[in-house]
Symmetry: none
Subunit: 210 residues, 2 copies
DNA sequence: ATAATGACCAAATGAACAATACGGTCAATT
DNA sequence: AATTGACCGTATTGTTCATTTGGTCATTAT
């Protein structure tokens, strides 16, 4: 391999990238393009152009467009999971952890944009691969939340309940507050989103008689 | 006018409808057709045929197809509002009333194919008039809920909050429980739905023990 | 005279076809 | 051995044109 070598060709100095760097370039280009244009509008030729490689080169690293998409999706999902795990402090209360995870996710814009774009693509033109991606995200989130809720029940922090239903509803709330509300109204800011989440999840709407 | 007269023409007995009856016939025909075929697939010629009138006649009562649709929509929305109002018992608590209203709405929707059909049309082909109709339905429901929430805040039954956001979230929650959950899981029964609703209102979804 | 009607018109729609763009391959090139 | 862009078959998009549809109005029926 010619990793990092500098060679002279036809009077021009050319810096050859290592195959590893090339792979990274392609991944970065595709990541950007998928997040910006969605699955369908991202063409392999465009990815190659952004990455400054020939179209054929992308196919030496990724057998198909779907495989390339899959790797990017995996990375994004992995990253999100890590963000969640970093936000959780085992010694803290469930409530506090929940808010911190929420906060971390709201703050973590990078991967968010990919998923927002994919969700939009599903609504607008119903691309199957975009739908696939959204479903994988939802399943991951649901399963993660379900486990956390189960653990909290075990520890006696919250009342016993069907953790599948509750995690499902939690996700619906999050989506409603962060994206659905914005489609017909002024978007809510992070602080408001957190407040409403807390109100609906751990306080209830009914006024308590003091 | 020839209201209700019976006349003899060319050996055949012909019953002439009054103009008022004709209007009703057209309205009934259109109501049936919109509910059965949706906005787009309902043609003015079909409406005329079902109503047993010439196409031109429909235009003596309704200036355009949209105007005809609008009158039918108005009627249906009005009917729905009355269903809501009948569901509310002033002496009862907010949460009991809320559940009764939402239940009544769900039932109303199930019996009135028009809205189901329009929702499907929006999903399938995105007809703008069908979307318009669905939006008017949603806005009516949201506004109705919003007023009830405002009143409940006034009475001190629930905590002060932005009634627009809360009505939005309550409706989302109800839809998630009744229809979205069923798309991937066993449907929840009425009792379960009521319990989750009460949990959300009184303690929050993630209630603490005791 | 008035109400009703269907032939008629322009605009919208959709089917059929042509042109383009795309994912993926591979012989030529470096 | 790695890279590349011309190339291929197919999927998508643009275009054309016949049909349909919302809406009008001269004619008909009463």
């Amino acid at each position: 391999m010619n990793n990092g070598q500098i060679q002279t060709g036809k009077g021009k100095e050319v810096i050859l990238m290592s195959t590893i760097d090339r792979r990274k370039m392609i991944l970065a280009a595709a990541t950007q393009s998928f997040a910006q244009f969605g699955y369908k509008a991202t063409t392999m030729e465009l990815v190659a152009k952004i990455a400054n490689v020939g179209k054929g080169t992308t196919y030496t690293f990724f057998r198909t467009k779907e495989e390339l998409f899959d790797e990017i999706l995996r990375k994004a999902l992995q990253e999100m999971k890590e963000v969640c795990e970093r936000a959780i402090k085992r010694e803290d209360t469930f409530d506090q952890n929940l808010i911190r995870v929420l906060d971390a996710l709201l703050e973590f814009r990078a991967d968010h944009e990919l998923f927002v774009k994919l969700a939009q693509e599903v609504r607008d033109i119903g691309t199957v691969q975009a739908l696939e991606g959204i479903k994988r995200l939802e399943n991951l989130v649901l399963e993660y939340m379900r486990q956390e809720i189960e653990a909290a029940i075990e520890k006696g922090e919250i009342k016993p309940c069907d953790s599948r239903v509750i995690s499902f509803m939690l996700l619906k709330f999050y989506i409603a507050l962060t994206t659905e509300w914005s489609q017909t109204h002024e978007p809510l800011n992070k602080e408001q989103i957190k407040q409403y989440m807390q109100l609906l999840l751990s306080e209830g709407l009914l006024a308590k008689p003091n």
